[in-house]
Symmetry: C2
Subunit: 332 residues, 2 copies
């Protein structure tokens, strides 16, 4: 009987789920909208119904060892989702306590970027690393930091908020209430803000002038940059310069062996990675130079969110936090 784990990735728009085994094979996957559920209870009803439907369609016998959940502002110690700005459920949601009414299984919850970091360790490019950082460049900027082979959770379970380190104290307004946070520059929304800033300061001709702020997407900016558009390229350079600077600061704290970039913006590839690495090395403590690599996540083209969430089960429940890579997974 195949040993499996359920992975759930809760995003602002959609919640994805899947059943996978220790080798990362996905036996079943699906998704439901998140934002349509204004209350948590109907959301859990819909989620469990969709998961159960999916499980009924798996045509082999399996055992479920646990459920891993990645969620914005997920608190590992408490199993709660706390004040997530992009979810409808305000305040502190006791997610695991509530979800236990649906499944009598071990459950573990952490923030989505931490789940991505564990996914990178179990299924991706960090299999042989004990000290690394994963940065997710989505609507915001999330981060999961691993040291001595374990995630840094901090005293309250909420560590790893590189997106809210300070770039310009009087800079762009952030959803968190501060100004000038890293994620207002280095994220899908950040690069859009940068494009609009450049449209104001530069005179380059670019099709980007025909977009409204509402209609422009980071995906479009990436396409334009890859096609050689000067404003889109400069936006990537500006983003990379700031990202490299703040990653150099983070590296001065944990001295990682590698930093993995993940998420929408990372799809720009070299246009993001090369200038970020250049800036990073410029601002890095000389004692670390040449030792730390910035590269793309190896889960980019896979269902990383669900894999990362299910990896939580292998690492945090089965392996008790050691994030040891299962023998089979190493052989992939």
């Amino acid at each position: 009987m195949r040993e499996t784990a359920i992975g759930i990735d809760i995003g602002g728009t959609f919640t994805k789920f899947g059943l996978s085994d220790v080798d990362g094979n996905v036996l079943m996957e699906g998704s439901i909208p998140t934002y349509t559920h204004l209350e948590i209870k109907p959301f859990l009803d819909a989620l469990s119904t969709a998961i159960n439907d999916g499980l009924n369609q798996v045509h082999e016998s399996f055992e479920i060892l646990g459920i891993g959940i990645g969620a914005p502002n997920g608190n590992y110690y408490k199993g709660t989702i706390e004040h997530a700005p992009n979810l409808n459920w305000k305040g502190i949601v006791p997610f695991i306590d509530m979800f236990k009414a649906y499944y009598d299984l071990p459950m573990v919850l952490t923030n989505d970027a931490n789940a991505a970091a564990i996914g990178e360790k179990v299924f991706g490019g960090a299999k042989d690393l004990n000290d690394f950082i994963v940065v997710t460049l989505g609507t915001g900027l999330g981060s999961g930091l691993v040291t001595r082979g374990k995630l840094i959770y901090g005293h309250d379970g909420l560590a790893g908020e590189l997106g809210h380190t300070n770039v310009y104290p009087d800079g762009r307004e952030c959803n968190c209430g501060k100004r000038g946070c890293l994620e207002t520059y280095a994220s899908a929304s950040g690069i859009k803000r940068t494009v609009f800033k450049l449209l104001a300061t530069n005179n380059d001709e670019t099709p980007l002038r025909s977009y409204t702020y509402e209609s422009l997407t980071a995906k479009k900016i990436t396409e334009m940059a890859l096609a050689g558009d000067p404003i889109a390229l400069e936006a990537y350079e500006y983003t990379s310069d700031i990202l490299g600077l703040k990653l150099a600061d983070a590296a001065a704290v944990t001295s990682p062996e590698a930093i993995f970039l993940f998420g929408g913006l990372a799809k720009a590839g070299d246009i993001l990675v090369k200038p970020t690495m250049k800036s990073f090395n410029e601002y890095l403590y000389p004692g670390y130079k040449g030792k730390i690599n910035i590269r793309l996540s190896e889960l980019m083209d896979r269902n990383a969110a669900v894999l990362g969430a299910s990896a939580l089960v292998w690492s945090e429940i089965v392996q008790n936090g050691a994030i040891q890579v299962p023998q089979q997974a190493r052989a992939i």
Copy 2:
């Protein structure tokens, strides 16, 4: 027979040593100059001679469980001192390998700020904490970061360089070769630079105008600030504002329960701590607000460097890295 550990703190000017027990009682202590020894071998000869003389004068029976060494740029994994800018011995010094010729005892070496962090855990204010940061404000700025009860060493044993995070990329020249590092602002040398900047920009009358750059010390600036001197006070405010900002960034990585300030500048007490806490809370990710305390080290008035180095033996050798607080120490 009393169980003891030898602690050695290697500084640019003096090397201090001592023999202490698990309760932090110091049975013997002493020091030799560091800077007069241009080569490492004569230094080790002099150090071991001084230690042996000290041990011979202890009038009770004791057992030595190990030797802990705190050193600038100390590499925990290799037992080496690597490219320390303020020591005469250039390149990579295989300290433990060489010192084993003098003592057949377990040895552990790490950087001086890491030793201070372990000292805070074993003998100071962090006895009940598993997630905290110790910042040493001496000639430079050192830091030791503890998460899940263990020091963050990073993949190369050299993690914890908060002093070289970036404040102003085009700012003050740093000994590390970069510009604008935190320690060029928040340290004994940094506050002196700030005083000279303020003497240039402000017209306040102050006895500080009678000092040369060479003759002015951080100790003097602290005395003047405590006496109400406007330039000295503004220098502390400027220092605290930058320190608070960068500590907020560090807190976004590790979410500590407390940050302990230690070293010469910390002797200013409230003049440093209060504005640092104010700035820290202004720049802190709102999700952490009210949870993290900045306070003075509880080892301020004790021989902290030697205690910290000897604490390495209790935590890293006797307890195998867990930094568990010995029962006796808890009872202090």
